[in-house]
Amino acid sequence: MGVYVLQADQVFTNVGGWYGELNHSCPLNVPTGGGSDSEILAGINSANSLLNKLLGGRTCGTPDTVGSEVHIRFGYGLSTNNISLDGNPAISFDNLVPGFKISSAQLQITVSLQATFAPTTANLERGQLDTKDIKANLSPYTSIFATVSDDWDYSNPTLGPTIFQVIQDGFGLDFVPSVTGDTPFFVKAFNAFVIGLYDIVADGFSLDTIGPATNGDTISVSATSGLDTINKVQIQYNDGTTVTIDVTSFVTQTPTSLTFILPFLGFTGTAQLFMQGTSFSGSVLLGSLEVLVENGSGIYEIVPGKTNDTIYVNSGDGPTTQDVKIPNPRWKTGYIGG
């Protein structure tokens, strides 16, 4: 068992979030458009309260509720070094060992209120560690400078936190003003991370299939024991695309071996595989697999005068066509002599 710390490296959605430098009650250097994703990430991940931060609030001098709410969601890339285990340098999800499982998750973030006049009520900030409809409130804001946190709600979903859910959902922050009157105020947020406990499942799960794999390929998993309790395999791609393979779709399943057919995933690149079962809570990271989409087939059409073949290929922009040479057309005379 150890402690992991996870920092965001992607901005999934951003409504109303600013990036800039606070000077007491008024933000300075607020860029047009609120700042780039990389700037906002730098602000939210920074541990230094004096540098630029993620900001939200009413505009200085023209107090109004318009645009004063902030709804922003952060996430994680699979190949970015964003998770640190036991204080070691951060590594990527792609490089985590098979069997990696989390047993807890807590969002921690430091927030600070800057106001011309201290509001009488200030329940401004809410954290959202998952995508459940009812958002979990961070601790109500009570001071100018506070560190707040949000534990994963173990009752929703009932399976509890999983590494799959943490990667899939990321975390969200809402700044919803509830102060009365028209007091100008701003909230800055920084030093945000998810922290929790992790385990390496001792059954030695191993992804035996070496990519790249295409749809229709058989994917093999082996273990010293426990694979007969697996009831779900989840495959997630970098862009959040997720495919779930249910136990009814497994080809073979024994305590030491499990195979299933890779379905059509609709993407090409590195995907992460997770397993859920009944012998442990949450989900287990199985490993990464390079996935290729098969080139599409087509109907061969004879075109008079055509001097090449045209095939369907998959590119980064989707299926397209490409002209290729006819494989070395040749002729040969009959044998002379006898």
């Binding site: 040479k325 040969k332 005379t333 044998y335 002599g337």
Partner: protein
Amino acid sequence: VAKQGFNGEILHFNAIRLRVTGSGNLQLTMKSLDDVNTLALANTVMAATTNIEPTTLTNFIDQRGCLEGTTTLINETFNISKIVIFIRPIASGYPG
């Protein structure tokens, strides 16, 4: 009785002449039975129209032989209407 064809004589293939149009390079190769012996000839540069039938020299000696042509690049084409192969027997056969 007039002799018809050949009966195991060793042949000297000394030239070929083609009537060919198209595009790209036509790559010619002389080949023996089972491709045991091969000889690559000079490429024939093809054009959509031509008024000549170029003669390509070769120096290929074998009991039986054939001529093979191919293109290897995309959009190369050939249209051959005549093939002449010049040969001459130079020995009566291989000893057993």
